[in-house]
Symmetry: C2
Subunit: 338 residues, 2 copies
DNA sequence: GTGAAAGCGCTAACAC
DNA sequence: GTGTTAGCGCTTTCAC
């Protein structure tokens, strides 16, 4: 059995209150006592029992993180960044994968596990604004992404419309006029809110440059996997719709699209430009390297953790909403300016 | 404040012992009482306090997982699979990123967080067999990978030597004779044990087919990032060493290599075949698609969780060691058989 | 079938 | 500066 405070106290010949003081870095402990206690701690290999501490304090220093899956693209990198930021702030992260299922997302928000953590970071894809009320409890939560809107919950998102519009206008600036967009909301698919906004940004970009929008150029994102990028391009090609650029709503879709374009004998960017969204590392190593819109993922990780910890510390402070900055990253999958 | 067992008992008009019985599905509770209690639970939205339960039970239903990073390749997919398997077994995973640093790996094994979990899954890269003793405590731990060997700790690994040898012989079977290998142990780099074994497999593969091994064809894996694949190819090319195939110790290295070969104007697989190791999803969408050795990652996730839970349940059962099966996945980055 | 009571290991309010 | 004590919410003997 592991050593307890009492064991340490006994060995050091002090009261166990004193040991607690030492462990918690309390101020008024004589150097001699401290030394004795520390020696005893080292000798017994004492480590505090977190369950007991949590029970007493009502805080666990655990944060919940609920994302669709760690295995692919955006969410893996986001989780990685969030875990690092949380660690630097003294928190450990308990990761759940919702697989974009409504049931699992509800469970993350309302389920029993919620009890173990001091707060939750969730990027809901299946839940929508209709479910907003379930977030309106006193338990700290920060929403990532834009599927759920509520002026009663802390929220951090990308500027999806503006960023996608900028991407679209960038392609137009390159001389493209027939720009296909992969990322349409699919009722069966995930990420509905994001789809809607990025689709809107795409259309606004066209409109801003006076280009007629052609519904045949707007493709579903399916479940946002590589394969969906493949099938979008395939259907575009088989429908015989002319296009000179592809703007995909995520880098993963873009890489699927790039793959299929090349498999069909097209040259990127000579025949078709490809633009992604997310700035995943992988995009730096495709051939050609992938031009992309960086929606601001790294900043989201920072801000989200920060927001959540603020909320934990002051539950009554005003609800926060933050949008992060985006930027365009030009690599080789889009053609040079004419 | 959240409702407690006592609150529920008061509302239901029973003793709080009875409520506990209902919550834990105890057998002898009359249907009427059960119904009353359940109604009270629902009305108050009662959820058990896990800290209290853990304190009492001495178990948290939390598992620790320590991997270098979630953001890239193998470990992101592995973590994803492990979290799913653990969830199906009723456990939640607390993820830590060690960034392959010795200090962080030690912290994962010995640090305070260890106390919060019922067991630890760790894939050490910086720790070595010299550190084996730190694992030999009574706390459940399962080692993934092969940096640390000890007959006193549960362990699950790939058949690295055999798998790499098979990959090498596959390339030879394709007609290749000048096969470069990227993945040499770099004292500064990570994954030393894996490097050594995969290097050994490569050399054995050559030897088995009577091919002389040329040290100039063996390249360092650096820190196992995409960029290290790039630099390996770059140094190969600038040294003017002839080669007709590249076998990279991971898919990420292989994708970096593929990228650089193409950037240098070489055609894969016409001029050079490229073979990876790991079977990451991304490899299905490169151009050309990436041939690879599947070391058995999915099986590792299953077995590791299973081993750890067995160990938690019976701390004194014999130490287990398992090697998983590998397979070769032929795609388009290796040339067709002559 | 249900109730009372002990105690898991810790922190903090209160004495001294 | 250090010691005593209550109690966080729960599970689990032990009675009844």
């Amino acid at each position: 059995m592991a050593a307890t405070l009492r064991d340490v106290a006994r060995l050091a010949g002090v009261s166990f209150r004193t040991v607690s003081n030492v462990v918690n870095g309390y101020q008024y402990v004589s150097d001699a006592t401290r030394a004795k206690v520390e020696a005893a701690i080292a000798q017994l290999g004492y480590q505090p029992n977190y369950s007991a501490r949590s029970l007493r304090l009502g805080r666990s220093n655990l944060l919940g993180l609920a994302v669709p899956t760690l295995s692919i693209g955006y969410f893996g990198e986001l989780a990685s960044e969030i875990i690092d930021v949380a660690r630097n702030r003294g928190y450990t992260v308990l990761t759940e994968q919702t697989n974009s299922s409504r049931e699992r997302e509800l469970d993350a928000v309302q389920g029993a596990r919620r009890q173990m953590t001091d707060g939750l970071l969730i990027n809901p894809l299946a839940l929508t604004s209709d479910d907003a009320t379930i977030f309106e409890t006193e338990r700290p939560v920060v929403l990532l992404g834009e599927n759920v809107f509520s002026h009663k919950v802390d929220h951090v998102t990308m500027q999806n419309v503006a960023a996608t519009q900028a991407g679209t206008e960038y392609l137009i600036g390159l001389g493209h006029r027939r720009i296909a967009f992969i990322g349409l909301a699919d009722p069966e698919g995930a990420s509905v809110g994001t789809s809607v906004l990025r689709t809107e940004g795409y259309r606004q970009g066209l409109a801003a440059q006076g280009i007629e929008h052609d519904p045949r150029l707007e493709l579903s994102a399916g479940s946002w996997a590589y394969e969906d990028g493949v099938s979008a391009v395939r259907s575009l090609l088989s429908a015989g719709v002319g296009f000179d650029a592809v703007f995909a709503a995520t880098d993963v879709l873009a890489m699927g699209a790039l793959h299929e374009l090349q498999a069909s004998g097209l040259d990127v960017p000579r025949d078709v430009s490809v633009l992604g969204f997310d700035d995943l590392v992988e995009g730096r190593y495709t051939t050609p390297t992938l031009s992309t819109v960086d929606g601001g993922r790294r900043q989201i990780a920072d801000i989200a953790v920060d927001m959540l910890l603020s909320r934990i510390e002051s539950p009554t402070s005003p609800v926060a909403f933050r949008e992060v900055a985006f930027s365009l990253i030009e690599r080789k999958s889009t053609r040079s300016r004419l």
